[in-house]
Amino acid sequence: MRALYRSMLWLAVAIVVGLVGACNRDTATGTGGRPRVALVMKTLNNPFFIDMQRGAEKAAKDLNVDLIVQAADRETDVERQMQIVENLIQAHVGALALTPSGSREVVPVVGKANAANIPVVIVDTRLDQKAATDAGVKTASFVGSDNYRGGQIIGEYLVKASNGRAKVAVLEGIPGHETGDSRVRGFKDAIKGSPGVTIVASQPANWERDQGFNVFQNILQAHADIDTVFACNDIMALGAIEAIAAAGKAGRIRVLGFDAIDDARRAITEGKMTATVAQYPDEMGRAAIEAAVKAMKGEAVPPDIGVRIGLITRDNAARESEKQ
């Protein structure tokens, strides 16, 4: 009896899965023999990757291919991302575009794709050069903009805007994340030549808005003289803006971010934020799918496809967002 009830409830689960599956059957098997390519991203909980997906979908439509978009629930979960890629290899996709959750950790699964003769285009975050060479894995191309360069751009801007005098707090991303590390390195290298610009505190706020708020609030308690905060992404910067308002210091602290998400552009237009760095994830997504389709057809693909990166300040924040 118990087994019967249990089976009946499982049947209910099966029906749900079946319905979901049936709706997606076309993408799974390919409609009318159209080639299928897959875009595997770090997560979908970030506007950055949603924009990337949008660009990729547009390219897939233009090129007349079916696109499968998948991502792990959490940006940190490399093992899950590896599973997704393994499963897509089993589904015999024609080509893969991948934003690695870990520069070294995805190398083994890129090797598996190589073994299955599925071309891989790496997007946004580079593979670790040494790990890739050691494992002998091949990629068709890299599509992305340089996080290190972005860090430099915002650092150079600060030196100019502050006339070489600033006390800076840095809000870092998740420790050990290549993206955040590169941004901080670029920033530090850019201010190196200006002894008047000093970093007085540097703490991780794990890419999150609430932690950006709390961590910066704590930093302000310890260092009341801070006049600039550089957050490694806009989400943390927006948290810091709230902390600044709560401390009654609105307008007296420069806020620098990264990513140029819509909320940050708005904050810049309203004068609450100073500057951010724009990457163009939709262009990345489009270029990635174009490269993947070329590689699938056996056409030549450049090994490195740069996507523009630029400074956003009050001068161009509104204009840029209209374009989107």
Binding site: R2, A3, L4, Y5, R6, S7, L9, W10, L11, A12, V13, A14, V16, V17, G18, V20, G21, A22, N24, R25, T27, A28, T29, A38, L44, I68, V69, Q70, A71, A72, D73, R74, T76, D77, V78, E79, M82, Q83, I84, E86, N87, L88, Q90, A91, H92, G102, R104, E105, V107, P108, D128, K130, A131, D134, A135, I174, P175, G176, H177
Partner: protein, 314 residues
Amino acid sequence: MLRHRLSASGRRLGTLAGLFGLCVLLWTLTPHFLTVSNLLNVLEQTAINAVIAAGMTFVIISAGIDLSVGSLVAVAGVVLASTLHAGVPIPVALAVSLAVGFGFGLLNGLAITWGRLPPFIATLGMMSIARGCALLFTEGRPVSGFDPAFRSIATAKLLGIPAPVFMTIAVYLLAHFVLAETRFGRYVYSMGGNEEATRLSGVNVRLHKTLVYGVSGLASAVAAVLLTARLNSAQPIAGIMYELDAIAATVIGGTSLMGGEGGLGGTIIGALIMGVLRNGLNLLGVSSFIQQIVIGLVIVVAVLIDTVLKARKN
């Protein structure tokens, strides 16, 4: 006792039917599911969660919970990786890593038995402490690049079957033996059923409960070995939220969160259901958002079955 066993095997049969039904369904929906290479792929992907869930089963049968397993995977992993990088022979490095996992697990147990903390709180604290240790130990950076001999733990194949599958089978056989055939195993059930009665019948509850958390820590360390070999890297941020997957596999497998009943046969099926489901949803190209909803529904339904059945029984 006989009745207890019968109802357990009946429940397991139901879950097994669920797994089987899921497989048949995926087979009809996509031609890529029922292939030898994909099924081996699923088994390989399930290994890590299955191993952690084996330890979790001990804890949950004893009416406890272990939220620290994901962080223990990270600690054991980075210790393993650093020891290997220091040039220590592989067996020694493995032993060190397993000892670290076991040791952190025992600390959980001591906080619960001697400190009288609820398991939820003690292991919640450990979740953060162990994560911090892993980050501190590596200065936040992943430790990667190992000898092919070590990597063969994840990459080797025997008769075409990946090594992690054999490792999982070995872990389950051993764990099943301990749980079903030893005195310690019987105490795990009786502590979960009625701790006070167990104490009054002369069992050293403190000792055995501490050991239960040691077993869970040990299982996490075994999972860390698999994960490190598979990714060719140990990350201090590895294993975040793995505790939830392990708890899910355990409860889908019919082990009651109230303690005292359940078993490893159910847990392995629970882990496979999660693995097959994720694999199938990927093969079908289902949106990641919908995948989360489906997996959540499966967990809730599985536990619902238990609650409904319990209510009927009483």
